[in-house]
Symmetry: C3
Subunit: 214 residues, 3 copies
């Protein structure tokens, strides 16, 4: 999941690794929250949590023919399961509103986008493919989560979700190709995902919508 | 699909192979029964049957980067198609109730769980990943079947379906790591899947459910 | 996507390549048209377009463990995005009816079926697997498109869609195994897909349907 490891100094690796684990945990929590609106049992919820947390990265790895990240390193799997169980317990007891998760979810989107784009670039993927891998990593977990819950993926109609991801991924790819060090490019790309997503939520930024004739 | 082949004596291999074919056939039948409630044509039903029968194992093989089992051995594909066509014909003529398939379906779940877990262990996957591969093999065919039929996967809310699979897979992994021979561990794991699933159906065993606030 | 390259003379390759690009573009357009009936934003529509255009071929490549075609050659990805954006613009301005796309869609189905079957044969897949890879390439883009839009895949109930694909793929495999040159076999296979599909649309050819008891 973090292919830049042999480029960046060790403490950045550790930071990126922790960030990756955090992103997985946040997405697992979002899966439980979504599944919780339906009459799923505990295990069904955990499956949805795992799909939400690991689905995007798994799809990226399968498409790029890399070892799937959570098979290579079980920690991601454990983080997703623990986060799912914790969310299940906490939400049940405290009855937290789902809106609370908007910020961590946006952070997760930024992290997944950056790590996905970097993974593809490290394998020598061309720019458009690399940026798309960032988007796939960022949003496909959520898409698969919604498909499993039998609803239209929120991502497609929600406030600049995938758009924020793609913009950040393109910025990252562009900066790297212009010679900016990977670490700074990743920071800029991730930050722009966050800013666009937050702007969409709090200021109502939107892309055009059209409804075709039946 | 049966990676333990060079460990176990030949007659156990043959048994496991036959069991694998039977599991594929049973799942194909479940696909036709599910698709049959919708206005699909014969071919659509066969596609749903194939996805139900081969989807879980395919996902496992793709994630583990093995050759997909039904591409390596066409027999599985043929078994799924024949079983699908047979079910289509028989159900149409005899009008059997779907409840009849609960027992073979539980047997299929047990078989897929065992074969999936063994496949992952043979590739050296860590215990949690190995057990999850058993679950994926066991339940993802059914999940994909329901997604294609545009309904919430039955697995998530039905009686200890995935739970039975995971419990059996964990037992199998645990027994093997404690030195129990693969054959006996597989038997114990598979049997426990069956027992839990049957207990859930006939005695109403359940996991906790929670419905989150909207 | 075009594995016959080193067999056929160069101008056939170029033709097949152009045809592959065209098929991707047509499927992307169908994705936008389908997504356009829902309140997706521009980006959501592009994602659905990409899945419709590239999903079937990606699934085929992942199952066959080949490099995914649009990662190996970015042109497909660009064709899909451009076609998606163009359709979005044109449909919005001109308000074309969706029925217009029936013919190009059938051509796309024929092209995908042929290229998918050929790709699998080139890798030495047995006949049934090879023909199924043609079907997967031809119809899974549309299936995934409909799953993302949360509806029952049109393919399963529509006029001989997947059936036409499978019949053409089997004809292609059969002709090649009888010694017919690949180019002619591909032409015959592709043409039969078109004829069956058009016959189904205009003359109402159908496969039997059955609705099981609940």
């Amino acid at each position: 999941m973090l292919p830049a490891m042999n480029i960046a100094p060790i403490h950045i690796d550790t930071l990126l690794y922790g960030i990756g684990i955090a992103a997985v945990a946040v997405n697992a929590a979002s899966g439980v929250l979504e599944a919780g609106r339906r009459p799923f049992d505990l295990f069904g919820m955990i499956v949805v949590a795992l799909v939400a947390a690991l689905g995007g990265g798994s799809l990226r790895d399968v498409l790029l023919d890399r070892t799937v990240f959570w098979i290579a390193d079980q920690s991601y799997l454990i983080a997703a399961i623990v986060a799912g169980l914790l969310t299940f317990t906490v939400v049940r007891v405290l009855r937290l509103p789902a809106r609370l998760f908007v910020l961590p979810d946006a952070v997760g989107l930024a992290l997944f986008t950056v790590s996905g784009t970097q993974a593809a670039m490290a394998l020598g993927a061309p720019w458009l493919v690399a940026s798309l891998m960032g988007v796939i990593t960022g949003v496909f977990g959520g898409i698969l989560r919604d498909v499993l819950c039998n609803q239209v993926p929120l991502v497609f109609s929600s406030e600049l979700y995938a758009t924020a991801s793609w913009a950040g991924a393109l910025l990252l790819v562009g900066l790297v190709s212009w010679g900016v060090p990977t670490g700074w490019a990743a920071l800029a790309g991730g930050a722009s995902v966050l800013v666009i997503r937050m702007g969409a939520i709090f200021f109502g930024w939107r892309l055009p919508v059209f409804i075709a004739r039946p």
